[in-house]
Amino acid sequence: MTRSFRKGLSFFSVLALLATLLAACSGNKTPESSPSGSASPTPSASASSPSPSASASAEGPVDGGTLTVSTFSDIVAVNPLFVGDTSSGDLETLIFAKLYDLDRNANLTAEPWSLAAELPQISADGLTYTIKLKTTPKWTDGKPVTADDVIFTFDTARNADAGSPLVSQYDKIEKMTKVDDQTVEIKLKQVYAPFQYALYQSIVPAHVLKDVPVKELKEHTYGVDPAKTVTSGPWKWTEWKKGQYIAVESYPEYWGEKKPHIAKVITKIYADQQTEVQALMKGDVDMTQAIPLTQIEAVKKDEDITVILAPGPQYEYVQFNFKDENFPDKYSPFKGQKTRQAIAYALNRQGMVDNVLKGSGALMNSPFLPGSWADPGDAAVNYEYSADKAKALLAEDGWKPGKDGILEKDGHRFSFELQYNSGNSRREGVSAIIQQNLKDVGIEVKPRGIDFATWIDQNITPGKFPAILLGWSLTNPDPDAESIFSSKYFPPAGQNGGWYVNEKLDEMWVKGQQVIDQAERAKIYKEIGKEISIDLPYVFLYQYGLPQGVNTKVVKWAEDDRPESQLAYGYLFHAINWWVDRK
């Protein structure tokens, strides 16, 4: 499962701080309805911005031209087996063909630009996946893409020696068989429904990499040298001027029936976000991935720029620790279910969405993204802000006001440290609201910002913290989150750093992995959503998005191909169908 902590924009704050110090001394074709039936229409662009496709149908697509996008960090390496940062992921999206693609609702699809010809056939016992490739795909060096490439990619990913972050997605594979050049049969060790999303994966060329010792793959020039990076996507990588820009170009030999309209995509790297936004407004760049929340109003005033303000595939939460030894007085105040519910009531979550996120967020009541097929909807309890309900629940759970107004129980003051990563302005704002909201009901919160890398290493990974404010980025659309919430996954092996135990949920997570039928699975996640929202290992706060800025005078797409904020790389959703018009 590829989930990673969302560091947010903190990198920039760190950068800005350092800089100050230094200066001082020197997609889908047709929006299909989700088979589960539970999915609601995806929340698209917010009401405050005009629909970006309004002018799209007036004139048809034109071929050629350059699309310039901006980013705030350079790529690391674009070998899909090792991609771990979003900049590299964006480039991967442009130059690699994936086995399958995702539609707007995160269902697996076989698109004209996918390597697979049709959806995988899953055997009745749920153990065998048969994948049929198209006969047409070719690598940029002219060799055909075959079953060998697929087997090589998955084999390398699951090989611990390779050190690929994808290892957990493929370690359930028992064996892979090449039936013919276009057919692969994958047998799993156990029924594991999330495996379908492991097929939403870029394939690497076996003929280029098979002779490289597996341990040296990560250091190989494949993925850092454009000339040596053989790919099979709509564009090919032509240039990397480190720290400045990355260029990809369409090429006549591309195998797909559908060719990209845009001839060249340049990704410019900006060190300063203020300059990045100015460059968008000046027209130096046509699209930017993340406008700082503080600058949204200024950008909206520009008529040419459309701001797509929709929540993305990441959510933020307050996590409680259930282990007594993580508190100074060796007592976790969060053990009472009513206490946790009281905290949920006490927090003004809508206020956070309105004031801190400025419309780029939406409330979350469970770990499943609103609008996704696993969204439990109303089955999850929505704790509406009410200090009175919170106080009543706290009293029921045995908390009584102490001398200083702070609640006490069995001689323990209700006071705890809330950790977050310093420099993240969103979390700074939200932690201040949490502090105030909980003070109103008699709980003392001491917010503490810690350097991200140190924090992850010292507190998060080993599960040593009283309470945290953090986010999860859901790069894999599968709702399975066993390794976060199950008591089988305590640190260091798992990510249940709060030492949360709920045996009923433990069983349900496993059940969710063992049912293949998506509608049936959705029912299980509905149950999980209900249970988890009552028991509250986390208080789920909101999902949030990175406001995307697009110069819609230049960049055009048909309505069906508009960017999809809900998907991890949805900001380039169906970019193959976009075109640029500089009239």
């Binding site: 990673s4 350092l18 200066a23 940062d85 850092v224 410019k268 300063d272 203020q274 300059t275 000046k282």
Partner: protein, 297 residues
């Protein structure tokens, strides 16, 4: 010092949530589990063979990252330095002859402004006005895409960042040249020269200036490394692909070998700066001589 900072390269680029064991294996492969002096000696050894090392995160040779930025920074800082010198020294001299006149007062005011104004803020103001509102000059970068190598394009891109940087340099240099001229102009030999009936122009340029230049050259020699180190903030605001920006980015991702190499380049420039200053002493002041036993200075 960077080793003392919490965190480390592996923690930043390893997928968070990967087990600590995996982190240790990674650290071992990269040689990060070796004692710091050993890491340093190994780096030094490689360096002497012309190998600056590779980045931790993606194995790119450090030289590939570093050398282009050195040139870019030199272009920017060199231009700013030259502009400020060409303005500051004549202006300082002029002001020293007309103490507390209007021109002198203006220079004082600009100096205060130059010292006090945050460069990034001034940069943003200039960008807003000249690039956004008037649309006269490019907003940022070193070249327009596809115009790499076109000198007039480079010139346009230089105007704003050079203005920002010049103001800071100018502030100091006007002050220095004025003060050092004033000191010289009060010397006895200047009075003698004037008493001999020499023209004021000749007194100022022949007799006073050469002596007044010596302290200025010292300052210039000391400032030379700054030219290479770059101005991280100005480079960031104007998206200039220079060494200052690289240093900040690499400090964030704890790329020790890049940071060491930058420090090294700057150190080399300190030495070169001092050497150039020494040579210039000899040119402006014939009393300064090298390698002849006891010196006369």
């Amino acid at each position: 010092m960077i080793h003392a900072a919490p965190g480390g390269p592996t923690q930043i680029f390893l997928a968070p949530g990967l087990s600590p064991e995996a982190g240790e294996i990674q650290a071992h492969n990269l040689g990060l589990d070796r004692p710091i002096p050993e890491q340093y000696i190994k780096w030094l050894g490689n360096f002497l063979q012309g190998d600056l090392g590779k980045t931790f995160k993606n194995n790119i040779p450090v030289g590939d990252l570093l050398w282009p930025t050195v040139g870019n920074t030199m272009v920017l800082m060199g231009a700013a330095w030259l502009v400020s010198l060409l303005i500051a020294i004549p202006w300082g001299i002029y002001n020293s002859t007309r103490e507390y006149g209007l021109s002198d007062q203006t220079a004082s005011f600009i100096s205060y402004l130059g010292f006090a104004m945050p460069t990034f803020w001034f940069g943003i103001i200039l960008q807003q006005f000249f690039a956004m509102k008037l649309d006269l000059l490019p907003l940022s970068d070193m070249w327009t895409m596809g115009e790499e190598g076109n000198l007039s394009d480079l010139f346009l891109h230089l105007v704003l960042p050079v203005t920002v940087l010049s103001i800071t340099f100018l502030a100091a240099y006007v002050k220095y040249s004025r003060a050092s001229m004033l000191e010289v102009l009060n010397q006895d030999y200047i009075r003698t020269a004037r008493a001999k009936g020499l023209k004021e122009r000749k007194v100022v340029f022949r007799h006073a200036l050469r002596n007044a230049l010596i302290p200025i050259i010292t300052i210039l020699g000391l400032d030379l490394p700054i030219l290479v180190g770059g101005a991280a903030l100005t480079e960031s605001v104007f998206n200039w692909p220079g060494m200052g920006r690289l240093f900040v980015e690499m400090a964030v991702s704890r790329e020790y070998s890049v940071l060491m190499s930058i420090t090294l380049v700057v150190s080399v420039m300190v030495v070169i700066g001092n050497l150039i200053a020494d040579i210039l002493y000899a040119i402006v002041d014939p009393r300064v001589q090298f390698g002849q036993g006891g010196s006369a200075s």
